[in-house]
């Protein structure tokens, strides 16, 4: 189980390969990665991601442990960036390994649902003319109901 909160960019494919290679007895690997959308209509200049350092890793580790308890997983990886990101940049990724695809998929969705509305990150979209905090969606809160 690995959780990395970092400012610097990471290589999604390389991380995914390292993760997959270390799964000797796991047949199913699922990854999710989130990318800063270019948002052509508002001409996004960049995205600023603020976080709460003392809480971030603690919260994500708790979510990761919860996933490890609910599903039979070989491994879990979570990487999440903060700071200034350009359109097209990777924001974060999760990876899960399991013997069976259903568990790998479910655990990855669980991680994403909780990261989305429980990990202390806040995104701001900056254009030439505006600086707006991204507003959380009611659908993200609703998504958590699936896991209760």
């Amino acid at each position: 189980m690995k959780v990395r909160i970092q400012k610097k960019a990471f290589d999604f494919g390389n991380e995914a390969n390292i993760f997959a290679t270390n799964q000797a007895n796991m047949g199913a690997i699922v990854t999710f990665s989130g990318i800063v959308r270019s948002l052509a209509d508002i001409r996004l200049s960049y995205m600023d991601i603020e976080h709460y350092p003392a809480m971030t890793e603690k919260t994500i580790t708790k979510i990761v442990n919860e996933a490890a308890n609910r599903w039979s997983l070989g491994d879990i990886l979570v990487i999440h960036r903060f700071g200034r990101l350009a359109p097209g940049d990777l924001i974060m990724m999760v990876a899960t390994a399991s013997k069976h695809r259903k568990e790998a998929f479910e655990a990855a969705e669980f991680l994403m649902d909780y990261l989305k509305s429980r990990a202390p990150f806040w995104k701001k979209e900056v254009t030439k003319h505006s600086r707006d905090w991204v507003v959380s969606k009611a659908a993200d809160e609703t998504a958590l109901k699936r896991w209760r």
Binding site: Y52, A54, M92, R118, A119, P120, F121, W122, K123
Partner: protein, 82 residues
């Protein structure tokens, strides 16, 4: 003495990221009331608690949570990670 942390839009409204306060507030709600009476910008930042979240010692809790033994309280809008 409790450390207060403000993030994202809350930080921008209150105009600072951290401060340390002396308080006898027993719950987060009491603390919010105290702060709101201090200055209009706090009152504004805390005007709609349903759109805010609070963490006591890095744990997400409700506004009626006790402050007994608390060292750090953080206020922020709903998270938008992932």
């Amino acid at each position: 003495m409790i450390d207060l942390l403000y993030f994202a839009s809350v930080r921008e409204r209150i105009g600072k990221a951290t401060e340390t306060v002396e308080t006898n507030a027993e719950t987060v709600s009491d603390l919010v009331k105290e702060l709101s009476e201090r200055e209009p910008r706090y009152a504004l930042a805390f005007s709609d608690l349903s759109s805010l979240r609070v963490a006591v010692d890095q744990e997400l809790l409700d506004f009626d949570a006790s402050l007994e033994g608390a060292r750090e309280v953080a206020f922020f809008p709903p998270m938008t990670g992932g």
